[in-house]
Amino acid sequence: MSTKNVMIVGVGGQGSLLASKLLGRLLLDAGYDVKVSEVHGMSQRGGSVVTYVRYGEHVYSPVIDKGEADVIVSFELLEAARWLPFLKKDGTVVTNIQQIDPMPVITGAKQYPEELVEKMKATGAKVDALDCLALAEEAGSSKAVNIVLMGRLSHYFDIPEEAWQKAMEAIVPAKFLEMNKKAFELGKNA
């Protein structure tokens, strides 16, 4: 198979690290070669962050370029729109509809664009948008947004549910496991 590309994008501090860890484990266990590329340091301070996950028979580059992503998983709506040019023409965006104003919007220098879900759909991209924060809170913690998104993402992977469960058991601390499993289900069935 050719290499598949998944991007995880969001705002520094939103918990994308656990999501990429989960995906890495899942795909490695499924027998793929995997590369996961993260960003640390200055850009994590509330900045726009991106993680690249690539898998296939043999993965060379650790990064994903414009027009290459099969799926973009976004923790925040504006970030989905920011990274949209990295999606394949017929790729899928799985996005949280939560909006977090960046500093130029907070100071009034710039506007947060309106109706981004519709505008992204109008480009031809498939957009799967859901209120992950509400679902995470329903599961028991606003911090479970990442697992809600993973539950939703599972629709776009040809990997059995048990494998996702197993990867979660390996990655998520035991005391949060039940809550996270609930978050996964809520995301999946949303």
Binding site: V11, G12, G24, R25, L28, D33, V34, K35, V36, S37, E38, V39, H40, G41, M42, S43, Q44, R45, G46, G47, S48, V59, Y60, S61, P62, V63, D65, K66, G67, E68, L78, E79, A81, R82, L84, P85, F86, L87, K89, G91, P102, M103, P104, V105, I106, T107, G108, A109, K110, Q111, Y112, P113, L116, K119, M120, A122, T123, G124, A125, S142
Partner: protein
Amino acid sequence: MKELMLGNKAFARGLYEAGCSFVSSYPGTPSTEVTEEAVKYDEIYCEWAPNEKVAMEAAFGASLAGVRSYCGMKHVGLNVAADPLYTMSYTGVNGGIVICVADDAGMHSSQNEQDSRHHAIASKVPMLEPSDSAETLSFVKLAYDLSEEYDTPVIVKMCTRVAHSQSVVETSDRVVPARKTYEKNIPKNVMMPGNAIKRHPFVEERTEKLRKLAETASFNRVEWRDASCTGKHVGIITCSTTYQYVREAFGNTVSVCKLGMVNPLPVDLIKDFASKVDVVIVAEELDPIIENHCKALGINVTGKDVLPICGEFSQNLLKKLLSPIVTGQEFNDTDVNAVADEIPGRPPVMCAGCPHRGLFYTLSKNKCTVLGDIGCYTLGAVAPLSAMDMTLCMGASVSAIHGFNKAGGGENEGKTVAVIGDSTFMHSGMTGLANIAYNQSDSTVIILDNSITGMTGHQQNPTTGLNIKGDPAGKIDLEALCRSMGFERVRVVDPYDLKACDAAIKEELAVKAPSVIISRRPCALLKNVKHNPPLHVNRDKCVGCKSCMKIGCPAISMKDGKAHIDNTLCVGCGICEQLCPVGAFESCQKED
């Protein structure tokens, strides 16, 4: 066992498996996790040193004592440690020494984009450069063997994409070589002229021996293109993560000379490779080092005439710039999806509750000239605070304010401050402070003591009282230190108290004497910090004057003409409350 591992974690695994038992480093993105992962192995003694020079000299001492040692740093850290490095090249080692230097092409978290290979060449120290996690692990082990066999420190150069990418590795057991005995050896280890003169030829001979090794060793390899390929035979000489981009972009349609050792570079291997292909391209990030080597050998290569010196590479960049040579066809960027709206940028910002915010607001309000330094607080330069005039390198704030004030006299002294974090002050601010004390400028230095090394992800330092494992350790008293240097005016303020900050800054700028203000409050992200309940805005009181918007807090925004607080971000620091002229900010009930 197969495992998905961060490049830096694989580095630490390499230290473990190679039997390294002493680690001393200073944190710096993207090198920090090597040491943070190494400390998880009980068999390895690990510490954070005050700076990279100290770390490297400590590693040298451990080597002298007979064990395998390590020090790690980012590219700019190697500038600080260059002094010992260039002479350790002469002394060589007892126990093996491996040095990690992590470059940051693309400047994800750095103040410049220097290419550390220059240091390897100039210091005549061998340098290995892995292209993924598995190679990192094996190169670290190889580096220790080379270090002891060739009597030299060995640098393993990382880059952001190798350091911070996870790929698959296979681990093995730790093997600790027998500890070397320490023997007094003045000609080898006392580098005064009479001895160093004799060591220099040794260094030159060693480089020649390593060059011979580089001709045939498996860390440099040639991968010929697929036998079915016909047409112009393109050969690409490359190293590091660029190797991965080359393979991604062109698969097996090109031949590749992949160099694992970037200093010294092989001669015959490259000549032979070049003679068997029709066109030679050198693909390397940053400076044209391999390219210049090839040109010196009389080989006609394409390199920086086509590829950029600035920034990172990627597969598309190579496809775009090299396809006309490789395939004879232009590569056009694929048509991509994009929304028409302008997407506002999301630059990094000081966190909600950051103790630096109150201090920088006060500096901004007083229209101070602010000579800054390296750390989270460099974000004080970002709008709306915009409270920084200069940032250069670690410690430069304290040294530069002295020159700025000496040259500008009272006019500068009355409105200029230096700001430096606690860890950066320990790193290289103290010597600048000694200069102020000694040569007497009426400079005001503000130490932003947030009880941690913040930017690199919360490392302990000599002022925190805890060691790398979080256990109690020696603690340097900043007030006593400054006083002992001769500063009579040393005062502490709480940066959450805007009135106190304002008074301290005004007074110390007015006084004709050198002074230190310690702005003290722990980083809001530290786990043991207790926060106040979040504030909320009483919309009946708020008049929409935007006074609270001047501090650039990510928790505050304007909604329908009135201030609004995001209570998932607010930690109740109360800075906004102090700025509000109508008392619209009120405390929420504590949620437990």
